[in-house]
C-alpha cells in the first residue's frame, strides 16, 4: 500500500511539474521549423503525394475511355477548333472562349501518343496537378526560414485531397478544377509576397502566367482572386506588393485575352454576345433550384461539405492569430460559397472553389493543432524533435497507405469484372471496360462508324457527351447539346416584357431552323431526342413535320431517348 501511495504521489508530482512547464511555454506556439523536421516533413509530404499520384493514375490506365459529360464536351470542342471550326459560328456553347482553346491540349496529347482523347484528357489533368503541387512545394521549399514553415506540407497535401476526391467522382478536370490547379502556385506566390517573403522573378512570372489561364475561364474565379488581393491590400496597403511580376504577368495576359475577344470576327462576337449571352442570362434559371437544395445537393456528401465549411471557417476564425494563411483561405472559401450561390445551380463543379478552400483550411488547422501538441510534447518530455515527428508521420502513413492500396485494389477488381469493349470500334487496339450509357453507346456503335455525325438533342450535355467523344463520332449540329431549347422556353415563359418574349421566340425559331439546316447538311445516320421535355418542345415547334424527317425512321425509345435512324442505313454487325 505504501508503495502504491508513493507511486501515486510521485505521479501527481510529475503531473504538477508538467503542467507548470506547459504554463511556462511561450504562446502562441511557433510554426517555424528546424532543419531535420523540415527535411523529414518534405520527404513525408512527397511520399503522400506519390501515393496520391499513383491513385490518380489508376483511373485513366484502367478505364481509358472514362470521362465526364462537361469535360468531354470541352475536349470535343477543342478537337473541332483544331479542325478549323469557329466558336459561336460553327459551334455553340455559353462558356467564354478561353476554356475551349485550353482543351485543345488533350487532343494534341491524344494525337501525339495515339491514345484515346478521354485518357489524354485525364493524363493532362494529372500533369496539371503535378505542376500545381510540384511547383507549389518547390516554392515553399525555398522558404526554409519562414515563420510558418510547419504549415507548408499540410497546405499542399490538403489541397491535393481535392484532386484525389474528384478522381472518384464526375468532376475530375472540370474548369473549376483546372482553375484551382493553375491558381494554387500563384496563391502561394501571392501569399509569400504579401507576408514579406520574396520569390524568384521567373517563378513569379510562370505562376502568374499559368494562373491567368484559369482565372479568365469565368468571371467568378477572377472575382475570387480580386477579393483576395483587395483583402491583402486593405490589411497592408503597399502598392509594390500589389503590383508585382506575377500580377503584372497575369494582368498582361488578361488584357491580351480581352483584346482577342475585342478583335474576334463580327460573326463570332454576334454569336456570343448577341445570341448565347442574352439567352442564358434570361433563361439559365431553368436549371436553377432553391437555395436550400443548393445547400443539401444531390447527395449527403454535399451537405457534409457545407457543414465542413462552417466548422473550418469557425475554427479558422479562432486560429487567425496563429497563421497568416487563415485570412486568405477563409476569404477564398467564403467568396467561393458566394459564387456558388450566385450561379444558382446545385452543381458540384460550381462548389469546387469553396470545397478546395475548406480542405486547405482543415489541413492548416490540423497542422496548427499538431504543431501546438508537438510543442507541448517536446516541452514535456525534453526529447529531440525527431522521435515525435516519426510517430505522427508513421501514424499518418499507416492510416493513408492501406487506404491507397485498398482503393487501387478495388479499382482493379472493378476493371477486371466489368464487361469489355473492343477498342478497335473506336480506332485503337485492345479492350477496355465499358463506359457509361451502355445502351445508347451500343446504338451509336451499331448504326454509325468512326467520324460519322450523330445528332443528340438533349436537355443536358449528357448522354451526347461523353458518348460522342468516347466513340469518336462527330456532332451533327452546331449545337452540341439541346440545353438552348429549354433555356429559351424558360426565358420566353418568364420574360419581363413582350419585347423580350418576342426576342426569345425569334431565337427559338432560329435554333430550330439551324437544327434542320444542320441535319440537311450533315445527314446524320442517327438522331437521338430526349423524350422528357425536349420532345415536347420539338413537337410544339412542329420540328418533326419537316420533310427532312421523311428520310428517318423511328426505331424506338432507349434510356428516355427517341431514336431516329436514316432509312438508308445498313446495320453493321455488332
Amino acid at each position: 500500500m505504501t508503495k502504491l501511495s508513493d507511486k501515486l504521489q510521485a505521479f501527481w508530482q510529475s503531473v504538477k511539474a508538467s503542467s507548470s512547464k506547459l504554463k511556462r511555454l511561450p504562446l502562441p506556439a511557433s510554426l517555424a521549423m528546424d532543419t531535420p523536421t523540415r527535411n523529414s516533413m518534405f520527404s513525408f509530404g512527397c511520399l503522400l503525394l506519390l501515393v496520391t499520384f499513383l491513385r490518380l493514375l489508376v483511373v485513366p490506365l484502367l478505364f481509358p475511355l472514362q470521362i465526364s459529360p462537361d469535360q468531354s464536351m470541352f475536349v470535343a470542342i477543342g478537337e473541332l477548333l483544331l479542325q478549323g471550326k469557329r466558336l459561336y459560328v460553327d459551334i455553340f456553347d455559353v462558356n467564354p472562349p478561353l476554356a475551349f482553346y485550353v482543351h485543345m491540349v488533350p487532343i494534341v496529347v491524344s494525337k501525339i501518343f495515339t491514345i484515346p482523347a478521354p485518357q489524354a484528357f485525364n493524363f493532362s489533368i494529372i500533369a496539371c496537378w503535378l505542376y500545381s503541387v510540384g511547383f507549389g512545394l518547390w516554392l515553399l521549399w525555398r522558404q526554409a526560414k519562414h515563420k510558418e514553415a510547419f504549415l507548408f506540407v499540410p497546405l499542399v497535401v490538403s489541397f491535393s485531397c481535392l484532386t484525389l476526391w474528384l478522381a472518384q467522382i464526375d468532376e475530375f478536370g472540370q474548369r473549376e478544377h483546372i482553375f484551382l490547379l493553375l491558381f494554387f502556385p500563384f496563391f502561394i506566390v501571392r501569399w509569400l509576397r504579401w507576408t514579406g517573403s520574396e520569390t524568384g522573378l521567373k517563378s513569379a512570372i510562370i505562376a502568374g502566367s499559368l494562373a491567368a489561364i484559369g482565372l479568365f475561364f469565368k468571371q467568378y474565379y477572377l472575382a475570387a482572386w480580386l477579393i483576395l488581393e483587395a483583402i491583402w491590400f486593405m490589411q497592408n496597403p503597399l502598392w509594390r506588393r500589389l503590383v508585382a511580376p506575377e500580377t503584372i504577368a497575369c494582368a498582361v495576359l488578361g488584357a491580351l485575352y480581352g483584346l482577342c475577344i475585342l478583335l474576334m470576327p463580327q460573326d463570332m462576337k454576334d454569336g456570343y454576345f448577341s445570341f448565347m449571352v442574352p439567352i442564358f442570362a434570361a433563361g439559365y434559371s431553368e436549371y436553377g433550384t432553391s437555395i436550400m437544395f443548393q445547400f443539401i445537393g444531390w447527395a449527403q456528401t454535399w451537405n457534409e461539405r457545407i457543414y465542413l465549411l462552417i466548422v473550418a471557417c469557425a475554427l479558422g476564425m479562432a486560429m487567425l492569430r496563429y497563421s497568416t494563411l487563415f485570412m486568405p483561405l477563409i476569404a477564398f472559401t467564403l467568396s467561393g460559397l458566394a459564387s456558388y450561390l450566385l450561379q444558382g445551380q446545385p452543381w458540384l463543379n460550381h462548389a469546387l472553389p469553396f470545397v478546395a478552400g475548406t480542405y486547405m483550411l482543415v489541413g492548416i488547422e490540423a497542422a496548427v493543432a499538431l504543431s501546438v501538441v508537438r510543442q507541448y510534447a517536446l516541452a514535456l518530455f525534453k526529447r529531440p524533435s525527431g522521435w515525435i515527428d516519426i510517430i505522427w508521420m508513421a501514424a499518418l502513413l499507416v492510416w493513408q497507405g492501406p487506404i491507397g492500396v485498398q482503393v487501387i485494389g478495388e479499382q482493379m477488381q472493378r476493371a477486371a469484372e466489368a464487361d469489355k469493349i473492343d477498342l478497335a470500334l473506336v480506332g485503337y487496339k485492345g479492350a477496355v471496360s465499358r463506359a457509361d450509357s451502355e445502351s445508347l453507346g451500343a446504338v451509336v456503335l451499331r448504326y454509325t462508324k468512326i467520324g460519322e455525325p450523330v445528332l443528340f438533342i438533349t436537355r443536358s450535355i449528357s448522354p451526347g457527351y461523353p458518348l460522342l467523344l468516347q466513340t469518336k463520332r462527330a456532332p451533327a449540329s452546331r449545337y452540341l447539346h439541346g440545353m438552348l431549347l429549354p433555356t429559351l422556353m424558360y426565358a420566353s415563359d418568364n420574360a419581363q416584357s413582350e419585347a423580350v418574349k418576342a426576342k426569345m421566340e425569334k431565337f427559338k425559331a432560329k435554333v430550330i431552323a439551324d437544327y434542320k439546316d444542320d441535319i440537311r447538311r450533315s445527314q446524320p445516320k442517327l438522331i437521338l431526342i430526349q423524350n422528357t421535355r425536349l420532345w415536347e418542345i420539338l413537337q410544339n415547334s412542329k420540328f418533326m413535320e419537316d420533310k427532312i424527317f421523311k428520310q428517318y425512321e423511328f426505331a424506338g425509345i432507349v434510356d428516355d431517348h427517341r431514336i431516329y435512324i436514316r432509312r438508308d442505313v445498313v446495320v453493321a454487325p455488332y
Binding site: 483583402i231 491583402w232 432553391s290 437555395i291 485570412m327 450561390l341
Partner: protein, 582 residues
C-alpha cells in the same frame, strides 16, 4: 496594429453626443415598429399563433402532448400563456398582445445592450458601440414578421449575454447585476429554443481557442445561465406524467430526427423563401472585416455567431426566414462593425489630408490652422453623423413601407376578421366552388367564430395564423400536422422504424377518432403530402365517410415574408361534414 492603436480618438463629450443620437435612433425605429403593430393588430407569425392556440388550451386545463400535440417546447407553450391570459383579460387580440410583449422584450434587449456598452466610455472599442446599438435596433426592425418567434426571442436574450461574455473574455469588469440579469435570460432562452445552446458552446469554444484562458469560462453569468436552464429543465418534472412521457418519447426524437430527413420538395426554385440576400451581405461583411480583424475583438465571435446560425439554418432544412434570424442578427452586428471600421479609416484619411494641408500652409499660421482644423473636424463629424442618421432612417423607412405593403397583400382576408364578415365572394354552389379561392373565404362560408376547424397540411400555413385571426379553434389532438410529414420521414430513414411506426399508429388513431367525432366544422387536407399519408394510414376512409369534398384552395402569394412555406405548393382540399355518414 492593435485595437488600442487603431481606435480613433473620440472626445468624451462627443461620446455623449453619439450615445444620445444612437438612443434617439433606437427610439424612433421602435416607435415605427410599434405604429405598425398597432395598425395591423392581427399580424402574427405562424409559430407564435400556434403556441398561442396551445396556450389557450392549457388555460382551459388541457395537458400539452397528452390532450393535444405540438412540437413546441414546454417552456414555449407555458410562456405563451402570458399573452393568452392578458388577451383574455383585456379583450385585446392575442396577436396584438403577443407582438407587444415581444416588442417590449426587444426594446428591453436593445436598451439593455446599450446600458452594457455605452457607459463603458473608456473601452478601446467604444467607437463601435453606438453603431452596434443602432444595428441591434435595426435587426429587430427586420424582424417585423418574425416578432416573438422562438429564434427571435432567443436572439433577444442572447445579445446582451453575448456582449457580457465578450467583455468578460476580454478582461473587462462585469457588475454582478449585469451578469445575473443576462445569465437568467440566456438560461431561459436555451430552454425556449434548444439550438441556442450550440451558439453558446461554439462561442465559448471560440474564445477558449483564441484566447487560451480558462478562468472566464465559468463566469458568474455562465453559472447563472446554467442554473436557470437547470431550473427550467427541472420544472419539466412538474409536468403531468403523460405530458412528460410524450414529450421525451415522441417530440424530442421527432425534433432531432425529423429535420434531418429531407425530400425533393425543396428542389425547385421558390420551394423555400430565397434568402440569398442574407448570405451575400454577410459574406461581404465578413470579407470586409477580415483584414481589419486586429482593430476589433468583436468581429471574430460575431462571424462565428453567423456561421453557427448558418449551420442551424441548414440543420432545420426549412429555409424559412425564421431559420435565418440568428444570421440576420449576426450580419447586422457585422455591418455595424464594418461601418465603424470604414468611419475610422475615413477619419484617418481626412486627418492625414488635413495634416498635409497644414504642412503646406505652414509659416506663422499654426494657431489659426489648428482652430480651423478643430472647426473643420467638428463640422465633418456632425455632417457624417447626420448622414448616418438619415441613411438609417431612410433604409428603415423604405423597408418598413415595403413590409407594410406585404401585410396588405398577404392578408386579403381582412374583410373577414374586420368584423363585418360580409363575404365579398360568391356564395358556394356545388359546381362553383372555385370562386372561394382562399382558406379564409372557405372558413367564413362554412364556420363561425369559436367553431373547431382542422388543417392537415405539410406546414403551419395556412392554418396558422388564420385560425387565430378568424377566431376559430383547432380541432382534435393534432394542433400541427407537419409532424405527420416529419414522422413519415423518420420512419423512412430511421434506424428504428418500429419505434416510429408505433408513434404513427398512435397519432393516426387520434386523428381518426377526431374526424369521426365530427367536431370540426371544416377540414382542410393538402393533396399529395398529407393526403397520401391519410390514404396510407386509412384515415382517408373515415374522412370521406363523415365529410364531403367541397372544393380546393391554395396559397397564392409569393413565397416570401410573411407568407412563407417549404416544399411544393399543392392544392388543399376542403371538406365539410356530411349530413349523414356514408
Amino acid at each position: 496594429m492593435n485595437a488600442d492603436q487603431a481606435a480613433p480618438k473620440i472626445e468624451l463629450d462627443n461620446k455623449a453626443k453619439y450615445s444620445i443620437v444612437s438612443l434617439a435612433l433606437v427610439m424612433v425605429l421602435f416607435f415605427a415598429v410599434l405604429l405598425i403593430i398597432y395598425s395591423n393588430q392581427l399580424m402574427i407569425a405562424p409559430e407564435v399563433a400556434l403556441d398561442l392556440e396551445a396556450a389557450k388550451l392549457i388555460v382551459l386545463g388541457k395537458i400539452p402532448y397528452g390532450d393535444f400535440f405540438s412540437l413546441s417546447s414546454p417552456v414555449a407553450l407555458y410562456s405563451a400563456q402570458v399573452p393568452a391570459l392578458v388577451s383574455k383579460v383585456t379583450y385585446f387580440p392575442a396577436s396584438l398582445v403577443s407582438n407587444q410583449i415581444a416588442f417590449v422584450f426587444s426594446l428591453f434587449s436593445v436598451l439593455g445592450s446599450a446600458a452594457i456598452l455605452l457607459p463603458r466610455r473608456h473601452h478601446r472599442e467604444w467607437h463601435y458601440f453606438p453603431l452596434l446599438v443602432v444595428a441591434l435596433a435595426l435587426a429587430n426592425v427586420l424582424m417585423l414578421f418574425q416578432l416573438g418567434q422562438k429564434e427571435h426571442l432567443a436572439m433577444i436574450a442572447a445579445i446582451p449575454y453575448f456582449l457580457i461574455r465578450w467583455l468578460r473574455w476580454n478582461g473587462r469588469k462585469i457588475t454582478r447585476v449585469e451578469a445575473v440579469a443576462t445569465g437568467v435570460f440566456a438560461g431561459f432562452a436555451s430552454c425556449l429554443w434548444y439550438p441556442f445552446l450550440l451558439m453558446g458552446i461554439s462561442l465559448e469554444f471560440y474564445w477558449l481557442l483564441s484566447l487560451r484562458r480558462l478562468r472566464p469560462l465559468l463566469g458568474l453569468e455562465v453559472r447563472v445561465a446554467i442554473c436557470t436552464a437547470a431550473m427550467c429543465l427541472l420544472s419539466l418534472l412538474l409536468l403531468p406524467e403523460v405530458a412528460r412521457d410524450n414529450y421525451f418519447s415522441l417530440v424530442c426524437p421527432l425534433l432531432s430526427l425529423g429535420y434531418q430527413c429531407h425530400d425533393w420538395s425543396v428542389y425547385g426554385s421558390g420551394s423555400v423563401p430565397e434568402r440569398r440576400d442574407i448570405f451575400y451581405v454577410a459574406i461581404a461583411a465578413i470579407l470586409f472585416v477580415l483584414p481589419f480583424r486586429n482593430r476589433t475583438t468583436l468581429a471574430g465571435p460575431v462571424v462565428v455567431l453567423f456561421l453557427v446560425g448558418f449551420a442551424l439554418y441548414l440543420w432545420q432544412l426549412k429555409g424559412l426566414s425564421q431559420s435565418t434570424i440568428p444570421m440576420i442578427f449576426a450580419t447586422s452586428i457585422l455591418l455595424a462593425i464594418d461601418l465603424g471600421i470604414a468611419i475610422s479609416l475615413a477619419h484617418k484619411l481626412t486627418g492625414k489630408a488635413s495634416q498635409l494641408k497644414i504642412f503646406g500652409a505652414r509659416a506663422g499660421t499654426s494657431l489659426s490652422t489648428s482652430r480651423l482644423r478643430i472647426w473643420k473636424h467638428s463640422i465633418l463629424g456632425t455632417a457624417s453623423l447626420s448622414v448616418f442618421v438619415l441613411i438609417v432612417l431612410g433604409f428603415s423607412g423604405i423597408f418598413l413601407t415595403a413590409q407594410v405593403g406585404k401585410i396588405c397583400r398577404s392578408v386579403p382576408e381582412a374583410q373577414y376578421w374586420a368584423g363585418g364578415l360580409a363575404a365579398p365572394v360568391a356564395k358556394v354552389n356545388t359546381g362553383e366552388t372555385d370562386k372561394l379561392s382562399s382558406c379564409a373565404a372557405w372558413l367564413n362560408e362554412f364556420s363561425h367564430k369559436g367553431d373547431e376547424v382542422l388543417f392537415l397540411t405539410d406546414g403551419l400555413l395556412p392554418g396558422y395564423p388564420l385560425m387565430l385571426q378568424m377566431n376559430r379553434r383547432p380541432s382534435g389532438y393534432l394542433l400541427q400536422s407537419d409532424c405527420l410529414i416529419e414522422l413519415e420521414a423518420c420512419e423512412r430513414e430511421s434506424l428504428q422504424p418500429k419505434k416510429f411506426e408505433e408513434y404513427a399508429e398512435k397519432l393516426y388513431s387520434h386523428l381518426n377518432q377526431d374526424i369521426a367525432s365530427k367536431r370540426a366544422k371544416i377540414i382542410f387536407v393538402q393533396n399529395f403530402t398529407v393526403g397520401d399519408l391519410l390514404k396510407k394510414h386509412k384515415v382517408d376512409e373515415t374522412l370521406h365517410k363523415y365529410y364531403e369534398l367541397k372544393g380546393h384552395t391554395q396559397i397564392k402569394t409569393a413565397n416570401e415574408e410573411p407568407v412563407e412555406r417549404t416544399g411544393f405548393n399543392y392544392k388543399i382540399g376542403v371538406f365539410v361534414p356530411r349530413s349523414q355518414p356514408l
